[in-house]
Amino acid sequence: MIWQRNSLLSIEDLSSEEIIFLLKKAKSIKEQKEKSGQVLPSLKGKRIINLFMEPSTRTRVAFEIAAKSLGADIISITGEASSLTKGETLKDTAMNVQALGADAIVIRHSSPGSPLFLSRLVDVPIINAGDGAHEHPSQALLDIYTLQEKLGDLRDKKITILGDILFSRVARSNLWGLLKLGAEVTLAGPSTLVPREFEELGARVTHDPNSALEGADAVMLLRIQHERQQASHFPSLAEYANVFGLDSVALARMKKNAIILHPGPLNRGVEIESEIADSHRAVILQQVANGIAVRMAILHSCIIRQEGDPS
């Protein structure tokens, strides 16, 4: 297939062919890098703006490294350091960023739908780096990439996403991506954070920590997000750890070689026991490393496509 999008706004929008295209591209970039230590600077002369309106370490830095690895110039603007703190609207900020000659904007924002909003205002590629509780496409792609590396074809594989699903963009993007690739997805966690309505989107939903992990090929743990919980959704972190924390007993319910993913940042002792996080079952650092190749694939596809080059 030919990649035809100039923006990556969500995984829900993508076809399975498009997901596979980006994953394959990430794979070839990673192999090339491992073989020769570098990749062609195909984005040389391009200017990418990282517009990060919410705190982020991993995603922002991964996009920076990805852009630089492809020879692009990348400038990161963070919420605190931008004119948004002076009352400028996102619309005006984006128009200004476009006027400054950006070839692409990578945006992280607390408002769901804000990348789509931007894509209607400016005619440069928009890469969604996380919009509220809506989507986090690059995270899902790197998660799926890592799952494929470890498990091979994901068709009929049992993947459990455990934790704060309600407020999680990572869960939503992974749900779409995994379903499109044929995996069985279970969403699990406290009943207040895992609405039954997710069943209508194609997931299996459970609030039973035992059945959540039974026979799973992989579990993706999500951080309990204190900052998003405006209402009381569970009694305490200690209670969460007690009921849903991944310990050795819970681990034993999964398949023998089942793996553990976590998008970070990790709350040791809450979602996961510290020793398990450091064990060979956890692929958390591989996820981070794969994130660079995946983001290189995304940037290259969206920006080069913009110039009409075949890719």
């Binding site: 619309k91 408002s111 909003f117 509780a133 963009r169 989107l201």
Partner: protein
């Protein structure tokens, strides 16, 4: 309005529909000195003659929920543009909500608005005042003083008091003055920070959901209070199928409850926000097809008494932001009548239109409904049937353009609105 604005107008050959007056037939109407006559009352010539074959003439419509932005946000809407929008939509009267800035919880603010009305209004404007001070639900507003300066209804729309004791006492107190009490039923905790109907769609979009329950709990509260106090309560802008059931049960046992629904909620569902269209972000939120069809049924079988515009104007720059940062509310005065007709989808919608947009809204406010009878004040609207046109809010009268019905094709068109015998709108 001064008499020199009166025009002699002949409305010939249109279908006049006013069932309560026993009128539903092709009838020539002669407007002279602000009144309707079925025969020319004198030899004076018409200033303007309308030949209305294929048109329908309706008695003056009243909108039960228009949000006035003066004082406070005159750039979003002022009295002149609000009333021009109403007239263009076929309304000869509106009831404005008290969420002005400052709130309409004191006689001085009401007098200021009345002054603007006197100078610029094109249609009748009835004012509501706050039920509680600042609509904060903490203390009862000076309802007697508000009544003295001409307020006809009291409400905290688009909020409602969370404190049941204050809410109950405020209603009990309002009864002394014969004020219509309007509740905007929404539990403030269950709906807190929500941006959409709670559903798989809002989950998918990552938007905090407003559950049906948030409305139904408040609807049930008002029903219980109306029963307990024996005071009529009008429920504004219901949106959930469950509310329709609760209201039906209450009416079946004689509890004095009435309700309206916005035209948007009769015509649209949550799908309207699926591309994060802030112009379709309403309060209460648009819900699902099952709600829409229950609301339509409720209108048809008499459970829901009226249809309102829920006109909430916001300047473009306030809506042209991220979805969760955009205020809830849509314009509606220019489209409510037409949207209502399309949504009820009856072979002959007009008797229903007169009941739900003219007669019942007036009765709810304790005002005698306009009529097309010989000798009545000339409050009426003329609708051209089978006229296809595309709605563009930019060509409308409202200063705001936040309509979810942008580019919608309507099949009827308002061509004339008279308010007390004066042309408020003509096309």
């Amino acid at each position: 309005m001064s008499n020199n604005l009166f025009k002699n107008i002949d409305l010939l050959g249109g279908r006049a529909v006013d069932p309560k007056s026993g009128i539903d037939k092709v009838l020539d109407l002669f407007i002279r000195k602000g009144k309707i006559y079925h025969q020319p009352p004198d030899s004076s010539q018409a200033d303007k003659v309308y030949h209305l074959k294929g048109h329908t003439v309706l008695p003056g419509l009243l909108d039960l929920r228009s949000h006035n932005r003066v004082p406070g946000a005159g750039k979003s809407e002022n009295i002149e543009t609000l009333t021009k929008a109403a007239a263009r939509g076929g309304f000869s009267s509106i009831l404005t909500m008290p969420d002005t800035n400052p709130y309409s919880d004191n006689p001085a603010t009401i007098r200021y608005i009345q002054d603007r009305i006197k100078q610029t209004a094109k249609v009748n404007v009835y004012l509501s005042g706050c039920l509680t001070i600042g609509s904060r639900g903490e203390s009862i507003a000076p309802l007697g003083s508000l009544k003295d300066v001409g307020v006809v209804a009291v409400t905290d729309c688009p909020y409602t008091a969370a404190n049941n004791q204050i809410f109950t006492n405020a209603i009990k107190y309002a009864k002394m003055f014969g004020l219509t009490v309007i509740d905007f039923p929404q539990d403030s905790f269950l709906s807190n920070n929500s941006h959409a109907h709670e559903s798989p769609l809002s989950l998918k979009m990552g938007l905090a959901g407003n559950p049906r329950m948030a409305e139904e709990i408040a609807v049930e509260r008002s029903i219980i209070i109306a029963r307990h106090l024996g005071v009529p309560i009008h429920l504004s802008s219901i949106s959930s199928s469950g509310s329709v059931n609760l209201i039906k049960k209450a009416k079946d046992i004689g509890i004095p409850i009435t309700a309206d629904v916005s035209a948007h909620h009769l015509l649209l569902t949550e799908e309207a926000i699926s591309d994060y269209n802030t112009s379709a972000k309403t309060n209460p939120p648009l819900r699902q097809e099952s709600d829409r069809s229950a609301l339509r049924e409720g209108i048809i079988n008499g459970i829901i008494d009226a249809c309102s515009s829920s006109h909430e104007p916001y300047s473009d720059h306030l809506k042209d932001v991220e979805f969760d940062l955009a205020p809830s509310g849509t314009t509606g005065l220019e489209t409510a009548l037409l949207a209502f007709m399309e949504a009820v989808n009856l072979e002959d919608p007009y008797p229903m239109v007169v009941e739900k947009l003219c007669d019942n809204p007036h009765i709810i406010l304790g005002i005698s409904p306009p009529s097309l009878k010989d000798g009545s004040s000339a409050n009426l609207a003329v609708v051209k049937n089978n006229e296809s046109w595309q709605y563009d809010p930019l060509n409308g009268e409202s200063l705001s353009h936040n309509s979810p019905l942008k580019d919608h094709i309507f099949t009827h068109k308002v061509i004339l609105t008279l308010c007390d015998g004066v042309v408020a709108y003509s096309n």
